[in-house]
């Protein structure tokens, strides 16, 4: 927390600017989701409505897969919950960083707490207090474009002839890898990644998707807890300062 907080307007604009590369990276997924939704038999309204209310790409894709068959509704809801279960961890980690917000700001903030929103906010929290204006500028842009892309994808998705040739199926892992890579200086990075990777792959092969996300994450987090914080804190790394809260 070295830099002073930004003014609300400057914060909002800074949030929008920061969202642009994220928006560019997830645009293909918004369009892809819309196209798949239309292909699954959702109306353009339903496809857009799902993006506007759930706002979680991976869970929406899983929902689509299940809409297709004769899967009971409660099981679809449960699967969406399982894919989004990681947000519980995001919420717990982000909560202490936004306690200076007003209650309604927090209620809005939770709604747009997506993967990139969380990653960017945690990076921001390392540098300066997370301002609501910045968070809202970031989140609103990502949200607005996600809903728009879903609509466009559902409306015009049939025009994409060969999504595989454009690598659409691997864009999401590639993007998540980039975000993961940004955290590599946060110790103990490699033990966490090793445990999560092993846990998620094993879970994928045994229990199956979407539980590999929660199970893998628990393996990584457990590793971090086992390693723990040093008993007597040695010279504090910069990011450890925030732990006094």
């Amino acid at each position: 927390m070295t830099a002073p907080p930004l003014s609300p307007a400057a914060g909002f604009v800074a949030g929008i600017v920061r969202s642009l590369p994220i928006c560019a990276a997830i645009a293909p997924f918004g369009l892809l989701y819309g196209a798949l939704a239309a292909d699954t038999g959702l109306s353009v309204f339903e496809a857009t409505f799902m993006s506007a209310t759930i706002f979680g790409g991976a869970s929406q894709m899983v929902g689509l897969q299940l809409f297709d068959g004769r899967v009971p509704g409660w099981l679809i809801v449960l699967s969406i919950f399982a894919v989004n279960f990681r947000h519980i961890l995001y919420s717990a980690a982000l909560g202490p960083k936004i306690m200076h917000w007003r209650p309604w700001q927090r209620l809005v903030g939770w709604f747009v707490l997506s993967d990139p929103q969380f990653a960017e906010s945690m990076k921001m929290a390392d540098k300066r207090p997370v301002a609501f204006s910045w968070y809202f500028g970031l989140g609103l842009t990502i949200y607005g474009l996600w809903v728009l892309e879903s609509y466009l994808g559902a409306r015009f998705g049939a025009l994409i002839e060969d999504p595989e040739a454009l690598g659409l199926d691997f864009m999401l892992p590639l993007y998540f890898f980039g975000m993961l890579y940004d955290f590599r200086s946060r110790k103990p990075f490699f033990p966490i990644v090793g445990a999560s990777a092993a846990g998620s792959v094993l879970a994928m092969l045994t229990v199956g998707s979407p539980w590999h996300v929660s199970i893998g994450a628990i393996c990584g987090i457990a590793t971090a807890i086992l390693i723990g914080a040093p008993e007597a804190p040695p010279p504090m790394p910069p990011e450890a300062k925030e732990r006094t809260t």
């Binding site: 509704g73 919950f81 990681r86 202490p96 690598g167 590999h212 994450a217």
Partner: protein, 99 residues
């Protein structure tokens, strides 16, 4: 089709529950144990890994090449440059049939 709207609405409620729930549960505790804090700090890396690792297992040479290239680019460039450079490589590799 009306049933689908209900599934979406309940899915949205469940999702919002995950986004607010972690904080509501944790804020009941006065102070956070250092080990819990260490665990929370590990969340981004732990979760992001689970979104990448299984996809790497089922992927082929083109995807592996893209990831390795991304890691290399990432030593210098930020996320955006890293993503687009490796995405272009992946598309080129797929187009020339290297997979």
């Amino acid at each position: 089709m009306n049933g689908m709207i209900w599934v979406i609405l309940f899915g949205a409620l469940a999702t919002y529950g995950t986004r607010i729930g972690g904080h509501l549960i944790l804020s009941r505790f006065e102070r956070i144990h250092p080990r819990v804090q260490a665990g929370l700090n590990a969340v981004p890396a732990a979760v992001l890994t689970t979104l990448v690792a299984p996809a790497m297992i089922t992927a082929g040479p083109a995807e592996w090449a893209a990831i390795i290239f991304a890691a290399f680019i990432g030593l210098r460039a930020k996320l955006t440059g890293m993503f687009f450079a490796s995405a272009v490589l992946l598309i080129v590799l797929r187009q020339i049939g290297f997979s």
